[in-house]
Symmetry: C2
Subunit: 287 residues, 2 copies
């Protein structure tokens, strides 16, 4: 049902505090790129929302604004259809909200793209007995085939890659670790709904021994002699897994291979501590 | 307006081809994790959708299904409110569709998270005269301050990091390049709406000289003596930019620094060619 079939004045009048008042505009804050952000939280009648939205767009147009962002919490789902009918489209969504966007100018739209990647980690935790920490999962594509795999997991938004590797090992196996370096990474295209995964192979040093496996996702966890891990048929068959073994040996055993390690750097613009991942080993050797 | 105020039987009858027929279930395909995916394309009355959705959820529950995904193209925006009222929440959205999700079992939900990162590239293109390819943008935080910056851009979903670097240089400056390696990368947390950027510093070799700048985003582009680029106040002030200069010199001038370069690897599961980014230089030297 189109909201435009409902007579506008009636609902508009009902919601105006003053019967003679014209519709106001939506509350908005300026963004850093010449646009505005509307962060709605109060319930609203869709027809009143449509009226406000139209007058707001006229207002922002006159002000020379570019992009218009509307963040609708999921409890205001009744306003989504109205925004789309007024020309907005989806930008991104999280479980609790939907972000809609509109571009006012006639010239080319420079609305930035949505997040496109998940970032994942696979953790090599090798102890001094040359045993590697491995798990079997309760679900997923490695389930039920007897393959002992490295602990893996997804980097949360706002989390550093090295912190995610430490966290995932702790969650899945209970083992404390310190981060050493990233040995390699790869992109897996279209891993879910057209998005890609960027997966970092991380080397960590164990700080504890005892295993307490996570119940929800982990079937079994153990310290496994590295040679046994390496000769598993799937490790042999799957080229990226073969490189895990080769890079690990080159790094730990023969000590000629160095990856990227995180180095704290200040950030001029963001006022936060970042980490630059680079071949610190080579850089330091030279100076 | 809540759809539940519309009397259900009337609309239900209207849409059933056979007046005596009970509501069918929504067309769905199984996913690889014990769930189902509904990919709706045909317009539907919200009340009929609600009826179908309820009977479908009962059916999938009996079948022991876990996650239920509903992909709604933006032209079916009139069904979003209904899905949310039936207990669905947002998973992700792209300009053309919204993905909703529901978890049937009583046990812990293992719906994977949405994409959390944008992946960006910054390109160092250095010619044999020790000139670096730099630009000034028409918008953004470097606009209007006279800073000559490296060409940068965002990696599309489904695009390799190295391919994005080559594409962005070509788009912004018209210069053809070949990819050499990734010198470093960093994560910039909360760069937009709580999402993070993962930004790769890429070294490329120019294959052409003539500059044809892109009109929409680029104010100016030039080949600039590397020393001039390095002594710009912002390069000196901003720690990550100082590392750009240091790593570039270590890599090109003094030749002791190596980054990660892409190596094609087959993929056992995905039936696609992946690239593993690693310190190929060190690995090859040893063998």
């Amino acid at each position: 049902m189109s909201v435009s079939t409902i007579p506008a004045p009636k609902l508009g009048e009902r919601l105006c505090e003053n019967g003679f008042e014209h519709p106001k505009i939506l509350p908005a804050i300026d963004d850093a790129h010449g646009g505005v952000i509307v962060d709605l939280n109060e319930p609203m009648d869709p027809q009143h929302f449509a009226t406000l939205l139209r007058s707001s767009l006229l207002h922002w147009n006159l002000k020379g604004k570019h992009g218009v962002w509307i963040k609708l919490p999921i409890n205001l789902v009744n306003l989504v259809e109205t925004a789309v009918k007024e020309g907005f489209w989806y930008h991104h969504a999280e479980p609790s909200y939907l972000m809609l966007v509109y571009w006012i100018p006639q010239t080319g739209c420079t609305i930035p793209i949505n997040a496109s990647h998940r970032v994942a980690v696979a953790a090599i935790v090798l102890n001094q007995n040359k045993e590697v920490l491995v798990v079997q999962e309760k679900r997923g594509r490695f389930h039920g085939i007897g393959y002992w795999k490295l602990p893996t997991g997804v980097v949360d938004a706002g989390e550093e890659v090295f912190a995610a590797a430490i966290r995932e090992v702790k969650e899945e196996t209970g083992v404390d670790t310190e981060f050493v370096e990233i040995l390699a990474f790869r992109e897996v295209q279209n891993s879910f709904f057209g998005k890609s995964d960027l997966s970092f192979l991380c080397m960590l040093r164990p700080l504890s021994v005892e295993i307490k496996k996570q119940e929800l996702e982990i079937e079994a966890a153990q310290w496994m002699p590295f040679e046994e891990f390496a000769v598993q048929p799937l490790t042999q068959k799957h080229e990226p897994f073969k490189y895990v073994v080769e890079l690990c040996l080159a790094n730990v055993e023969e000590k000629f291979y160095t990856g990227f390690s995180p180095r704290p750097v200040s950030s001029y613009f963001e006022d936060q501590l970042n980490y630059l991942y680079m071949n610190s080993n080579e850089l330091d050797k030279s100076s």
